[in-house]
């Protein structure tokens, strides 16, 4: 007799038990030994194009640093001055012919993953690309002290500098990831961002590209023939999530093995409460700020109707209680930076003079500029125009969205109307780069030293690249150059840096909101974890999972 009665409780229970049993007996792979392991990294944010020359996204750098090699890499001390503390990578040794001539000898074992040898021609080609104005690499300003890169023979490259300065070696090796000239020569210079190679790259690094499912995951596999030592972890899989908060949730649910930053105190608590996770604190290389667009949105030839006014910008900076915001959002996991710097920068000096939070003074300033609430709607206006602007924020960062709402309210109490433009990360980056915004909340993952990062983002050389707000101040740039070139003592250099940044702070091109301390969280089974603060996955090829702690995911062979 046909019946539509729901199945009895017993049958349901039996079915459920059977299902669980089946799930439990998951397929076991065959990999055993020291070179197995799958690292699943959960991250909110996705690479744009896997070509290091054209992308300034931190997540892109995380991936491409496994695919492409630099000539030499930073050592464990993080010292960027001189060349003693650097580790050979693509270059096995180097010497100085003259104080301004640096000669690299490439390691003859280095191979591209299609079999061809890495030659000096590749290095020269890479330099050409990084400095080509058509390619518009964001790293170009950092390479301005290099006069020329030439080849002496197939394994010898010569760098000539314009002048001597303490971080010459760093400038030569840190920014450029060497690219395969034989595969990229034909790509038209203006179309690098959309090149097919950027979605299926071929490199010479410890890992090979396997697959990239847009919006879902990206997979790299270890190159067992890597000349500097076979990576222990067989596979790296990045899992893209809606934002960092979801990434942490996945980590806690053990769907992922690693997360770069826990961001907030409650996430840290969740990770601490989980006995299978280990937390790794490291110096944060990130700082976040509200950047003002000094040019008119969409038309860089005209000044911005509001933000070209220095006094207005200064009043806005003084309106915000940055200390309270940092405390609310990050707890003890971030500080208010005294300028455009992360906690990693050695120039961090809490004595640096900046505009303090002073709403009364800000209010007086605004009134003096003519911004008064003449129609009683709570928003200041002048000549019929309200004091209003739009704040651009990416939806992938819960922190920035939180800040946006807090700032919106703090500005409202000052009589300033702020509307939020919350857009996807790629739209955010495109609009930022094109200058189509009033103000935005941006976060930079900085280099280990300020001499490259600060010119990229805050000088004229960064126009059309990382200097989204188009701020320039020749006086600032002069002092900046002196600071970068300062050969004398560290303290002397620090004082010069401080002077430069105080100049910048007085101009108020941005409101510097937070500089984080980072806490990475990894599954306990991963050992030998070494995290370099400027690039947390730089040393992932040395991480490993002991053979007796392999899980099913680790043993899968593919």
């Amino acid at each position: 007799m046909p019946t539509t009665r729901p199945p009895s409780l017993l049958t349901a229970a039996a079915a459920l038990a059977g299902l669980l049993l089946v799930i439990g007996c998951a397929r076991k792979g065959g990999c055993t030994g020291d070179y197995c392991g799958t690292l699943v990294i959960a991250t909110g944010g996705e690479p744009d194009v896997l070509l290091p020359a054209v992308s300034d996204r931190a997540i892109t750098r995380d991936v491409t640093d496994q695919l492409f090699l630099k000539l030499a890499d930073l050592g464990p001390s993080g010292n960027t001055i001189g060349d003693e503390d650097f580790q050979p990578l693509l270059a096995e040794r180097w010497e100085w012919d003259t104080p301004t001539t640096l000669v690299f000898h490439l390691d003859p074992r280095a191979r591209w993953q299609d079999g061809r040898a890495v030659t000096a021609a590749d290095v020269a080609f890479t330099y050409d690309i990084y400095t080509d104005s058509l390619v518009r690499s964001p790293f170009r300003p950092s390479l301005r002290h290099i006069a020329a890169v030439t080849t002496r023979d197939s394994l010898t490259v010569v760098f000539r500098f314009r002048q001597r300065f303490p971080e010459m070696f760093y400038a030569a090796v840190y920014h450029m990831r060497i690219l395969p000239s034989h595969l990229l020569r034909e790509v038209p210079r203006s179309q690098w961002r959309s090149a097919a190679f950027g979605r299926a790259p071929v490199g010479d690094g410890p890992y090979r590209f396997v697959a990239w499912r847009a919006g879902e995951s990206l997979e790299l596999a270890a190159d067992s023939t890597f000349f500097l030592g076979r990576p222990h972890l067989r596979r790296l899989i990045w899992r893209f999530t809606a934002d960092q908060q979801v990434a942490v949730t996945q980590l806690v649910a053990h769907d992922a093995d690693a997360v770069e930053v826990l961001v907030t105190p409650d996430n840290r608590e969740r990770a601490r409460a989980d006995t299978q996770l280990a937390i790794y604190p490291y110096k944060g290389a990130a700082y976040g700020y509200v950047g003002f667009n000094l040019a008119a949105p969409g038309d860089t030839t005209k000044p911005h109707p509001l933000f070209s006014d220095r006094e207005l910008r200064r009043a806005l900076v003084m309106s915000v209680d940055r200390g309270a915001l940092v405390h609310t959002v990050f707890g003890d996991m971030a500080k208010v930076p005294p300028g455009p710097m992360s906690q990693l920068y050695w120039i961090w000096d809490p004595e640096t003079r900046e505009l303090a939070h002073d709403s009364a003074r800000a209010a007086r300033s605004l009134t003096r500029l003519g911004w008064v609430d003449s129609d009683g709607d709570g928003i200041r206006d002048r000549d019929g125009h309200p004091l209003a602007f739009r704040l651009l924020v990416p939806t992938t960062s819960a922190v920035r969205r939180q800040y946006a709402r807090f700032l919106q309210e703090q500005f409202r109490t000052m009589g300033i109307d702020v509307q939020l433009d919350e857009v996807d990360f790629s739209v955010f980056n495109e609009r930022a780069r094109a200058g189509r915004f009033d103000a935005l909340i941006n976060v930079w993952n900085t280099d280990p030293t300020p001499s490259s990062g600060i010119p990229e983002s805050w000088t004229r050389a960064g126009f059309g690249r990382s200097n989204y707000g188009r701020y320039e101040n020749p006086a600032f740039e002069r002092v900046l150059d002196r600071a970068v070139a300062a050969v004398s003592s560290r303290d002397e250099a620090k004082r010069t840096w401080r002077a430069a940044l105080e100049l910048l702070n007085q101009d108020a091109p941005a409101i510097f909101l937070f500089a984080t301390e980072n806490y990475a969280a990894l599954h306990k089974r991963i050992v030998d974890v070494r995290i370099r603060p400027d690039s947390w996955l730089a040393l992932v090829r040395t991480w490993r999972i002991p053979a007796d702690r392999l899980t099913d995911r680790d043993r899968v062979e593919r």
Partner: protein
């Protein structure tokens, strides 16, 4: 019957064509050429050239329309601006996931709803009927995504009985090609399908209860009772068979609900179906995907109605008799 079905089919095709035209007009209204995007994002010159050639963007509107129709008939839905691959490929990857979700939700919906409706009808006006009826009304009134959030929080995060979103274990089961992987897929499917299914079941239960009570009052049921047949048999065999017709209507009407619900539920559970694809595409202003998704959704709605009509014709002999 066949003639009637053919007429309905023709009407459906006409509707789909009208939707296609409407979509084309709307896209054109927003901005005439894909080489100029709403947020001014520059498109690579060769992509622009290819689009111009394919759709005749420099020609009059009529020509563009014809080319657009031609491309659609060829299965060319354009190129995604954010995923850098053909839209048809992206849809082909995600549509099966939405289909699985919707199908499972539909099964849950109808089995739960039917069971509940019958149970309530059997206990008409008694406390269990009223209580369940109100509970069903409440569930039906919930925002679907909110129910999903609550289920995810309680059963996913707090209790850990189900995964916190996603389609599958990326590492162990990149394809569903074995029994454990099928089980893993089902385990990931459980919460999202339950979310959609519960809300639908509440609705189905209400309709089914009303339909059954209506039928029960009719003559043939009284006859069956008079014959001395047990109440359960009367209800389940005689009454239910006739009260199943509204289910067919509900089946047809459920497609729009499932598609809309899929958008929100897939977002909450990070389920990579067509809904999530559309949402991500919107956030990235990737309009080729969004318009394609809207088109596909419309086609599915029309198909659903067609199917419901056909089933109705099969189920109800009165309609069949009228049609021939």
């Amino acid at each position: 019957m066949a003639a009637w079905l053919v007429r309905r089919l023709a009407a459906s095709i006409a509707i789909v064509w009208a939707v296609v035209t409407l979509t084309f007009l709307i896209v054109h209204l927003a901005h005439g050429s894909p080489c100029g995007q709403p947020d001014g994002r520059p498109i690579a010159p060769e992509v622009c050239a290819d689009l111009t050639r394919r759709f005749g963007l420099d020609r009059p509107l009529g020509v563009q329309y014809v080319k657009y129709l031609g491309a659609l008939l060829r299965g060319d839905l354009g190129e995604s601006l954010s995923l850098h691959r053909p839209v048809a490929d992206a849809l082909a990857d995600t549509l099966p996931n939405t289909f699985m979700l919707a199908l499972t939700a539909l099964i849950l919906d109808f089995t739960l709803g039917l069971a509940l409706g019958v149970y309530q009808a059997a206990r008409e006006r008694r406390f269990s009927d009223i209580a369940l009826g109100n509970a069903a009304l409440f569930v039906n009134s919930m925002p679907t995504f909110w129910l999903g959030l609550v289920l995810l929080l309680v059963f996913g995060q707090r209790l850990g009985w189900f995964p916190v979103g996603g389609l599958r274990d990326l590492v162990l089961c990149p394809r569903v090609d074995s029994l454990p992987c099928a089980a893993d897929f089902a385990w990931h499917l459980a919460l999202p399908a339950l979310t959609l299914g519960l809300v639908g079941a509440a609705n189905t239960a209400r309709y089914q209860r009303a339909a059954l009570l209506d039928v029960v009052r009719q003559d043939f049921v009284r006859t069956a009772r008079a014959k001395g047949l047990p109440e359960r048999r009367v209800l389940l065999v005689h009454a239910l068979r006739n009260a199943l017709l509204p289910l067919i209507t509900l089946f047809g009407l459920s497609f729009p609900f499932l598609l809309t619900g899929a958008v929100l539920v897939e977002t909450v559970f990070a389920w990579p179906g067509m809904g999530l694809l559309a949402v991500n595409a919107i956030l990235q202003r990737d309009y080729p995907i969004v318009t394609a998704a809207a088109l596909v959704a419309s086609v599915m709605v029309v198909l659903g109605n067609l199917l419901a009509d056909a089933l109705y014709g099969v189920a109800d002999p009165r309609i069949r008799a009228r049609a021939t």
